[in-house]
């Protein structure tokens, strides 16, 4: 036990002194991930804000043919910009992105309207332009509303209650808690956390086997009166310590970064108070020994630092795969899923972020299964370390 502590302290001291290791261990989690995250969320929020607050800018060709429509649109807050364009010119302008969309009122519009026939309107739009999605949606809704209004008026004129053309009245009841709407974006956040936790221990895991072997320091170490299990446990614990530090720093960095992002605009309130940060750390920390053991096992198969690095970069994707699937499917927590390491941590952390709370049973299942998997892999790492081939 004492020897494990000696190895642990030495690994911590040595790696903290190596600026390269410290930089690569904490750069991703503390700077890169929160920055990327804050930038993308800010962009998305800005767009949402623009769609909500700014008037709809609508270039209209042939405005003179539909004065009533235009005054309706103006009443609804649209900023009408009369332009002189034919259909082809309008298509060009939208395709190049000069206009997000163009409404074209054909000459026969008024005539058809007066005759009571469906009056044609052309809306030139580009669905591949994600920036224009908000404006397009708003323009369509306004035109629909105008159309319904006209229909209602026509029915009234004929003495018919306009409700006959409204057989259904659908009320959507939105159950999303304010932060629940941001599930996709916050799902990304747990992905970043698990990633930076693993990256935090990346270099130590490599150093314990491939690194020591390459520098020629493994053989004298193995000729000391210390069991190999003690050596590898001390090293894995040091890896765990770096991973814990990286995870905690990342969470703190996220909490700080997100306080600058106008999340409310997206209808999100990321619940990032101190207790929540600590709770997320708590549900994620059982993943640390598993990650450390996994990386150590993989690194002990490799012969050189470089080889270990390229293998481990692939292995880093393994715990992230279930998260990706869960985010795409909008998976909800249930007891069976809690048995899957990394997925269970993602689901629990996401629930905490949404402010939904988590069930104690789920936390327990997640921690027990993940820690068990970690213990099994650690046993495998010890077994591998006992092989002669560890010397390469």
């Amino acid at each position: 036990m004492n020897s494990i502590a000696v190895v642990f302290c030495k690994e911590i001291l040595e790696n903290l002194r190596d600026r390269r290791v410290v930089f690569s261990a904490f750069f991703f989690g503390v700077l890169l991930a929160p920055t990327i995250f804050a930038l993308t969320t800010t962009l998305v929020s800005k767009r949402a804000q623009r769609d909500q607050e700014e008037p709809l800018r609508l270039p209209v060709a042939g405005a003179v043919h539909a004065p009533n429509l235009l005054s309706f649109l103006r009443e609804q807050g649209a900023d009408i910009n009369p332009v002189e364009l034919d259909v082809h010119a309008a298509i060009d302008k939208v395709r190049t992105g000069e206009f997000e969309l163009v409404l074209i009122v054909p000459e026969r519009y008024g005539e058809r309207l007066r005759a009571g026939d469906p009056a044609p309107l052309e809306l030139v739009l580009d669905t591949s332009n994600t920036r224009a999605a908000g404006s397009t949606d708003r323009a369509r809704r306004l035109l629909d509303a105008y159309s319904r209004q006209l229909a209602a008026l026509r029915l009234l004129v004929r003495g018919v209650n306009p409700t006959v053309i409204q057989p259904l009245q659908v009320h959507g009841i939105d159950v999303a808690t304010p932060s629940g709407r941001s599930l996709l974006i916050l799902g990304m956040l747990t992905y970043f956390c698990i990633m930076s936790m693993l990256v935090g221990g990346f270099y130590l895991a490599i150093d314990t086997t491939a690194g020591e072997r390459e520098r020629g320091s493994l053989e004298p170490l193995l000729s000391l009166p210390v069991t190999r299990a003690q050596l590898i446990l001390g090293k894995m614990l040091a890896t765990c310590a770096f991973m814990c530090a990286s995870l905690l720093l990342t969470l703190v960095a996220f909490a700080i970064a997100l306080s600058f992002v106008p999340l409310e605009v997206l209808g999100m309130s990321a619940n990032f108070s101190v207790p929540v940060v600590l709770a997320i750390f708590g549900v994620m920390v059982p993943m640390v020994p598993l990650g450390a053991a996994l990386m150590t096992v993989v690194a002990s198969f490799t012969r050189t630092n470089r080889e270990a690095q390229s293998w481990l970069s692939v292995v880093l994707l393994v715990p992230v795969a279930p998260i990706m699937v869960a985010v795409m499917n909008g998976t909800r927590p249930d007891a069976a899923l809690m048995a899957i390491p990394s997925l269970s941590q993602h689901l629990l952390a996401t629930s905490l972020l949404r402010g939904d709370g988590v069930s104690a049973m789920h936390v327990l299942i997640s921690a027990v299964t993940t820690l068990t998997a970690g213990a099994l892999l650690a046993a495998l790492a010890i077994k591998l370390y006992r092989r002669e081939a560890i010397l390469g």
């Binding site: 002194r17 190596d18 004298p220 193995l222 000729s223 009166p225 210390v226 002669e388 010397l391």
Partner: protein, 243 residues
Amino acid sequence: MISISHLSRRFGAVQALHDVSFTAADGRITGLLGHNGAGKSTTLRILSTVLRPDTGQASVDGYDCATQSLQVRRSLGVLPHASGLYAQLTGRENIEYYARLRGLRGPGMKQACDALIERLGIAGIAQRRARGYSQGEKLKVALARALIHRPRTVILDEPTNGLDVNAVRMLRELIRELKAGGCCVLFSSHVMQEVAALCDDIVIIAQGQVVAQGTPQQILDALGTTDLEEAFVRAAATPESAA
């Protein structure tokens, strides 16, 4: 005291050791001489319990290397082929790390470190990180690390490789001191002159077999020459006619 009997070890298709037997006595310096790839390092690795033999036995101070490996490692001091220092630790920290792993603690450990640092003349560099060390400085720190627990039996794997004359002299002096203190010293080399200058007993190994052993004089007599260099070349060339 090192005793090896009928040791064999195979790596895949290569028979690295074949029926190797010799002893290295306390209070004597034994040289393990052979070309590169002759089986010197394999022998030393079996002694330091890092490798296991296929057949045969090796023991250090009466402990069997295969079954009592922890006791063997406790009594053995090993200077490996590469110094294997940790670049980010100072010389003293490198030495103290091994001292702690050997169970030394507190003032006793400090004293042991101070004594060796003093003896090896590395007080000036012991506070510096190991990454800037010269070959000679690395060797001295690695030596201090290997001797920190005052081992009865010391194994040195090609210790003079890449050293300048001063460092080689210092090393020889230290080895003689260990001998005077009653230690059993086994060191491997591929340089005949070096072994001749230092050793009481010589074991010549070629293609995994012992081809000659004894005092330098006995080896000269057995091979019918007065030149040790010539004796080594002759012995190494004829593993079949092993003495």
